[in-house]
Amino acid sequence: MNALHVTTTRIFYAILLLLAVLVLNFTMMHLAPGDVADTIAQSMGGADEETMAQIRADYGLDKSFLVQLGSYLGRVLRFDLGYSFYYNQPVTSLILQRLPATLLLVFTAQIFAMFIGVVLGVISARRPNGILSHFVTFIALFGYSAPVFWTGILLLIGFSLKIQWFPVAGMRDVTLEGGFAVRALDIMRHMVLPTITLSSIFLALYSRLSRASMMETLGSDYVRTAKAKGLTEREVVYKHALKNALSPVITLAGLQFSAVISGAVLVETVFAWPGLGTLAFQSILARDTPTILGILFFSSSLL
């Protein structure tokens, strides 16, 4: 009974929060000067007043703010995210087309950054003042401070132009014929550079955090006991200390997830990765309110 009560209030608040997010963002979009009719005119190389008025009438942009907000919320409550003005498509299908690419990239990059970060962190924690440790710190901070655009282009020049190992852009080679395995391999090849670029930002966080937490754990009593038992240093570090040292890293991973998503916007642009990030970015530039709100709705529901 109690659990049920808690769950229903939670859900109630979650819905309320979602609506608040939508209303707030709708208002913000409305307050910004210009609307999607301007960007549609831009895509057409200019349009006369009659055409502009026609576009605004088609999309209900000529109605008052409250009427527009009301009709939007009404549709959302009926699980209809509306129609993208700019892309001429239902928002839900637009998002569902792009979501898998972003999730694939974000999850892979997150796992990759965490794995490599922890390995580097542990290595440097074992000899905190050794050359290797300083080298790890350097690499991590370099990745953290270099702009994503720059890292991306640099990797492209290195590994797509000079040594032609990886493709430049996109998620798949559409001219390729073949079965599932060939296609999967093709997507993996396309993923390598964007994944490295995206994870480079987070590598520093994970490696610094796991280094600090590992050093702390290595100094604790039970590690000393384990060493006293006569276990080798290897066993102590990887069997005993690592388990405990990992818990702050896992917590950070959860918190960092939204940051990875926002980092994905830039990475997707450089590598022409057909994900949600580029869609969000372009819809904001295009003032395509239904698409932006749809993406916000999806991402806030996920969180």
């Binding site: 200019g46 006369d48 892309y87 792009r98 797509s160 559409v174 001219t175 022409a272």
Partner: protein, 525 residues
């Protein structure tokens, strides 16, 4: 400086010679897949009858054919219309269609479809001036369409080419749904052009395939065109260099162009952009403050060193533009006042206009920095150049296009960099900037508030003048007047370039770049 110019000339000559001999000797070969970059990102709609712009133009011109096509010399050539006549009074234009032409579903293309397409374009295309004088279309037989005009309309010829007049199937779009938002604009497209649609994935690609029933025997040469959407210009350049894409059009970033020019596997050319006719200029609001005085506007023109912009900022990639008509156009008049930089003259004009120098300053102006890339350097330079003659300029940066467009459309600006496209005939893309009847009607209207009765008169006369020489003389006079009164300081043709692999034969040239049919493009071995 001298050296670099010489080298540039030499490089261009070599490129021209190489290009000339390159494709003249080869015989076109059928087959293969051409991978191109889709210019301008994801198109909203693939149907050019209801949407303009270069993003729609590239796939749209492959999916849909127009009655005419244009070669490099601005001469109309037969396309879907195998011949055409204009009556002596200019009021009847008769098109004779290819007799064996069919839509992608096999249905014959008839004069009914031409009449229907004109109707849709008149109603829904943003460029209303293209077909405004077309009163009705007669269809005496299946393959003859007669356009009846209320007044002679020489602009019609260019309006019937490129992406401007897509012939669309009446049996698909005439079903009563709004053609602007018709579901068949993006999916299951049934077109009239050399290629049909396989797949359109917004944000990713448009895949086109050879239409086997195309009316011209043996064409198109290519089996497939994959148009990929790669928004970042550096990534696009790398993809061209490593061969992932073989053709990209509308490349306009000077550093990228120069880098690609040094790649021996690629050809870089600015040929083919006269029709689109994009020009970079400095717009001046002639209705506000000191800018109302023509002497102040002339002084600004004399204070700016155009050569610095062309050489240092555009890095030699752009051609000077002295007027609002693109330098490639046969109507361009290069014999107008060019405003060679002259600070003494600028200062004298400002003194004469009643703005004396006090404490090193005459007056203040704002300059808007548009919310789209490419104008930061020019804007900063203009600010610095004008401070030398005592004009204190404040840069107002805009985060995105709509914000800037509002300020321009409402004429709440003093100065701003802008680029405006000719779209073929001056009637379509030039008049809108100068006609006093079009003042302050949104972005890319007459945002300068420019009004000159003689200019209005000339533009009206030229719009209906069927004699080519007389028409050219009218536009020449128009360009002289505008250059004299400087509502706009013209800088350069936008350095739009096509970049393609040396394996590509017959790359798109003509006057419409990638907004022209790619039926004759082929891939060499």
């Amino acid at each position: 400086m001298k050296h670099s110019t010489k080298n540039l000339v030499a490089a261009t000559l070599i490129a021209v010679c190489a290009a000339g001999t390159g494709w003249a000797q080869d015989t076109p070969k059928a087959g293969g897949t051409l991978v191109v970059a889709l210019p301008g990102g994801t198109p909203r709609v693939l149907n050019p009858a209801v949407q303009s712009g270069t993003a729609t133009g590239m796939p749209g011109s492959q999916l849909f054919a127009s009655p005419l096509r244009y070669d490099e010399d601005w001469t109309p050539k037969p396309y879907l219309a195998k011949s055409w006549e204009v009556s002596d009074d200019g009021l009847k234009v008769t098109l004779h269609l290819q007799e064996n032409a069919t839509f992608h579903d096999g249905v014959p293309i008839t004069s009914e479809d031409v009449a229907f397409s004109v109707d849709v374009i008149k109603k829904y295309h943003p460029f209303k001036s293209m077909f405004a004088p077309v009163e009705s279309v007669d269809t005496p037989d299946e393959h003859t369409a007669v356009l009846n005009l209320t007044s002679p309309h020489p602009a019609l010829m260019l309006a019937m080419s490129g992406q401007l007049m897509a012939i669309i199937p009446k049996h698909i779009y005439g079903d009563g749904q709004d053609p602007k938002n018709h579901p068949r604009n993006n999916q299951d497209v049934v077109g009239s052009g050399p290629f049909k649609l396989v797949e359109f994935k917004p944000g990713e690609h448009v895949i086109l395939e050879r239409y086997d029933g195309y009316w011209e025997e043996g064409l198109p040469y290519l089996d497939r065109i994959v148009a990929r959407i790669i928004n970042d210009s550096s990534a696009r350049a790398i993809a061209l260099q490593n061969g992932e894409i073989q053709l990209s059009t509308f490349e306009m970033e000077p550093t990228t162009i120069n880098r690609l020019q040094s790649d021996e596997n690629l050809t870089v050319t600015k040929e083919g952009y006269g029709g689109i006719g994009a020009i970079d200029w400095l717009a001046m609001n002639t209705t506000r403050g000191p800018l109302q005085d023509v002497r102040v506007r002339q002084a600004i023109a004399y204070a700016i060193d155009k050569n610095f912009i062309l050489k240092a900022l555009m890095r030699g990639t752009a051609v000077e533009a002295k007027t609002g008509i693109h330098p490639d156009s046969p109507l361009y008049n290069p014999e107008v006042e060019a405003y060679e930089v002259d600070l003494d003259k600028a200062n004298a004009l400002l003194d004469e206009a009643g703005f004396p120098l006090e404490n090193g300053k005459r007056f203040e102006l704002n300059i808007e920095l548009p919310g789209f890339p490419g104008y930061k350097a020019q804007t900063e330079y203009i600010k610095a150049a004008l401070s030398k003659v005592g004009i204190d300029v404040t840069v107002r940066a805009h985060p995105d296009f709509p914000t800037w467009a509002r300020v321009m459309g409402n004429m709440e600006f003093d100065l701003s960099m802008d680029s405006v496209y000719n779209w073929g005939d001056p009637v379509i893309g030039v008049n809108r900037t100068y006609l006093s009847s079009n003042i302050g009607k949104g972005v890319w209207s007459n945002t300068q508030g420019y009004a000159n009765a003689r200019v209005d008169e000339i533009l009206a006369a030229a719009a209906t003048e069927m004699d080519a020489e007389k028409r050219k003389a009218l536009y020449s006079e128009f360009q002289e007047i505008v250059a004299e009164e400087v509502p706009i300081y013209f800088i350069n043709a936008v350095p739009q370039h096509s970049v393609y692999s040396n394996k590509v034969g017959n790359p798109p040239q003509g006057i419409w770049a990638s907004s022209s049919p790619m039926d004759k493009i082929y891939l060499k071995d």
